[in-house]
């Protein structure tokens, strides 16, 4: 929780951009797109529980 989530997202971002560059230069455009999609899904997989938890706390706190 906290800072390491941010560093994880940044790490995935850098990794995906490097892989996409390599795949693009070796002529595999579609795999580059798939890699970035996989990176997106991974990051979303991390962030969605936190968003859900935040909105749950707000709902219970403010009796929405």
């Amino acid at each position: 929780m906290g800072v390491n989530l941010i560093f994880k997202i940044a790490a995935v971002g850098i990794l995906v951009s490097v892989m996409c560059q390599v795949l693009k230069h070796s002529g595999r455009e579609d795999q580059a797109f798939l890699t970035s999609l996989a990176g997106l899904l991974l990051v979303l997989f991390w962030i969605v529980p936190y968003i859900y938890e935040l909105f749950e706390t707000i709902k219970t706190l403010f009796a929405l």
């Binding site: 800072v3 560093f7 009796a63």
Partner: protein
């Protein structure tokens, strides 16, 4: 988690997001979303103390509980809507942010309409 840590967390996220903007623009949006969720989570978790004091103040002044509940509801709706529309605007989609804000305003109006009616009824009683 003091305010200093939250401030540092925000600045680290912004610095990383700026770095990511040149590499992969969409990842800077995810970074900002992640940092926003974390800092909002810290703010909300330290908010229940304030809500408790508001409730205690409410009992002192015999304010009807429904008014206090509606007030808190409005603050909650405003907070969530502000968070979502700010994120949409950061990502560059101001129109979507405006939609979320408009929906938030309408839902606040809906929440506050019973209180408005109660006020007008009491006024009418005085007029008679």
């Amino acid at each position: 988690m003091t305010t200093i840590q939250a401030a540092i967390l925000g600045m680290v996220a912004v610095v990383l997001a700026v770095q990511m903007k040149s590499l992969r623009p969409e990842y800077s949006t995810y970074l900002i979303l992640g940092a926003g969720v974390i800092i909002a989570g810290l703010a909300v978790s330290s908010l229940d103390v304030i809500l408790e004091t508001i409730r205690i103040i409410g009992t002192y002044m015999e304010i009807e509980n429904s008014y206090l509940g509606t007030l808190l509801k409005m603050v909650g709706v405003a907070y969530v809507v502000e968070f979502a529309s700010g994120f949409c605007k950061d990502a560059g989609f101001a129109s979507l942010g405006m939609q979320v804000e408009m929906f938030g305003k309408i839902s606040i109006l809906v929440i506050s309409s019973p209180i408005l009616l109660a006020l007008l009824e009491t006024l009418q009683k005085f007029m008679k």
